[in-house]
Amino acid sequence: MQVKEYKPLIVAFCCNWCSYAGADLAGNNRLSYPADVKIIRVPCSCRVNPMFILRAFQRGADGVIICGCHPGDCHYTSGNYYTRRRMAALFSMLDFLGIEKERTRVEWVSAAEGAKFAATMNEFAETVASLGENKRLEDLRCKR
């Protein structure tokens, strides 16, 4: 039997105006971060509905990270302030249900912070890898 090497699948929601550009910059500068980080572009970090996060876990993500402009820099002025409150409440709830809190994260990454983007992803992927597969929010029907 062949044992598949475990590599965490990470979904990164990146806002169009800062973090997605930050990811671009990381690419332009040839900084490396794991290929298993799948970026989903959203107009603003506050576009991320808690359901998106749960759906990502359902579809096989082992970690979900939301990246947006730094507080005060949101293209829509205040979107990321709402993100901050919502995700604080949601992450705390996930923890309350016994789901590993290290699997979810919010980071602020500006368009100039390509290096921060790569470093964040490397570090997050490592953290998630050390947790192993997502079992507590998995949906067996979606397993390949």
Partner: protein
């Protein structure tokens, strides 16, 4: 045992109906059993005298019914509000869900409601009738000749044991005396769960949530859940109305349900009351309330009309989502 009597309520209501102050009354009526009390709209004095009920099982919070009923009646509708119901009433007004002018709110005192599950734990199944008898409930069952006497205090619903307020925050007229906001122990159970390890918490919720049959009663009864088009009714949402296929769907539903009312939930406890599976759902809502209080300052939804719910508000100094775990957390 309730201090105010059914006769007092009926008398008051009949008077207001006959002098034309109101044209309909939202009240309680008997359902299939004595303990299965159902909300009803009364339009005549005869109907009221015959079918109106007021006892220890009148837990139903009528605030949400106003959303539909105010649109259906000509003139005003009378609604009875227990102290906890008044918070939901205010919250709905804050959200512009009904026309205040169409409502005549009568605040009534409440001594705490009974939980039929607790009664059944004591007397067993086969209950044929329940009557108030002083401090006690007189319960007759199919299997015993003599009725059992159960102290009302021993079977009080959890939400009433941990009642947060005997004070009415909204009314047009008050019957009986008003009470005070109470320092309750309602967050103790949440704190107990928080003190567990993640594994224990996971096991606890797996056990509770796996009983959910997705009847949606919790959503339907919740006065904070009044969207006309609910995400759970949308077949494309992946959380549409059907029995959970696996534990993921159970958790998904419960996280989303609780999240949608976070910051607006008044902690009325209707969700847990109506759950046929006795899932302690209110603990999820209370977790949000406790967190919100700790993160953004004390907030009681519905305490006043027009206050801004914490999750649709912000300050530039709010804590970061990662910091929520650094609060001297046991498992940090």
């Amino acid at each position: 045992m309730q201090k105010i009597t059914k006769d007092q309520l009926v008398e008051k209501t009949v008077a207001l109906l006959s002098d034309g102050t109101v044209s309909a009354v939202l009240g309680w009526s008997r359902g299939e059993f004595d303990y299965d009390i159902t909300p009803a709209v009364f339009k005549t004095a005869e109907d009221l005298k015959e079918n109106f009920v007021w006892n220890d099982f009148c837990g139903a919070n009528f605030s949400k019914y106003l959303v539909a009923q105010t649109g259906k009646v000509e003139g005003k509708i009378l609604v009875f509000l227990k102290p906890c119901d008044t918070y939901s009433f205010n919250q709905l007004l804050t959200e512009h869900r009904f026309d205040r002018e169409k409502v005549y709110a009568v605040g009534i005192p409440c001594e705490g409601m009974a939980d039929i599950a607790k009664v059944k734990e004591i007397v067993g199944d086969g209950i044929v009738s329940i009557e108030a008898d002083g401090e006690n409930l007189k319960v007759s069952t199919l299997y015993e000749d003599a009725p059992a006497l159960v102290n009302a205090k021993d079977v009080m619903a959890e939400r009433c044991v941990n009642c947060k307020s005997k004070k009415h925050v909204a009314y047009d007229e008050l019957m009986g005396d008003d009470g005070e906001v109470i320092e309750s122990n309602r967050f103790d159970e949440v704190a107990r769960l928080e003190a567990m390890t993640p594994d224990e918490r996971f096991a606890f919720w797996q056990n509770e949530l796996s009983r959910c049959i997705r009847c949606n009663a919790c959503r339907d009864a919740c006065p904070a859940c009044t969207c006309e088009k609910c995400v759970f009714d949308n077949p494309a949402s992946s959380v549409e109305n059907k029995a959970p296929a696996n534990s993921f769907e159970e958790k998904m539903f419960h996280i989303i349900r609780a999240f949608h009312v976070a910051g607006r939930c008044t902690d009325c406890g209707e969700c847990s009351r109506v759950c046929p599976q006795n899932i302690p759902l209110h603990l999820l809502n209370r977790k949000f309330i406790k967190d919100i209080n700790e993160f953004y300052g004390e907030y009681q939804a519905g305490a006043e009309v027009g206050s801004r719910a914490p999750l649709v508000d912000y300050t530039t100094e709010d804590l970061e989502p990662g910091e929520v775990f650094d609060r001297g957390d046991k498992d940090a």
